[in-house]
Symmetry: C2
């Protein structure tokens, strides 16, 4: 499967989040062409401020592998990660981040801060942005429009 | 209780981490003069890359309050937070961070990045550094010296 196919799965997760009343962000983690974990934002449902899609997916992937190092794994997420999630990507030693839409107000990778920029940490993460960008952004726009006009 | 007293409790958590073979970092979260949560680093024990003291304490405090917003709460941690944990402090809307020792290679607050610097995010976090700094740093030095010369 290619980047666009894995991002499609992350988008399916994002839509499940919206149906649960959560801002639609979804993530999947893949290693050696195999799905390790999938998750969506659960902050409101769980009351856990760390329950972003990426954090949940990273915890599930680590549980699946039985170790905290997610070497060679790729995280796909529909929205540019916030600083917490960008930091978690370094903490988990993920090889690559692929994201969909930019988060102009909260993004910790390109938009507001550049936490994964080369040369800052010992561990380097490859970043690919803009995969299915318009669909990922549209899912968020639809959700917030419906919230304003229920 | 004052900053130094709560940091003493965080140091007790850090020493419990060391006894479990974890790098000694401890955290407590306090609100209205009352302890909400205490935790220590559990990354190796749990195999969870997000199981830093701060993240565990934040999740426990949110569970104790029954909501993800930790308004008016203060996080005490023995070591300067990494980017993930600095981001989690913003995500949880904590009022104040009080930390002990600097982390020159991994710190996301003062040393390597300044994720909590004023004017970046809508939510501002007050930062107080250097409380029981020498004891917090010594606990880490002792741990890594013992690891090298067991």
């Amino acid at each position: 499967m290619r980047h666009r196919d894995w991002m499609q799965m992350a988008l399916t997760e994002a839509r499940a989040a919206a149906q649960a009343g959560e801002a639609p962000v979804g993530a999947v983690i893949v290693r050696a062409g195999t799905l390790l974990a999938r998750a969506h934002n659960e902050r409101e449902t769980t009351g856990d401020p760390t329950a972003h899609a990426e954090i949940i997916a990273i915890r599930r992937a680590a549980a699946a592998l039985g170790r905290w190092r997610l070497d060679d794994a790729v995280l796909y997420v529909t929205l540019e990660p916030c600083p917490m999630c960008a930091g978690a990507i370094v903490a988990a030693r993920l090889r690559q981040l692929v994201y969909g839409a930019r988060d102009e107000k909260g993004g910790g990778v390109d938009s507001v801060m550049r936490i994964l920029a080369p040369g800052i940490w010992n561990h380097q993460v490859e970043v690919t942005a803009g995969v299915r960008e318009e669909e990922c952004a549209q899912a968020l726009r639809d959700f917030f429009r419906d919230k304003r006009n229920p």
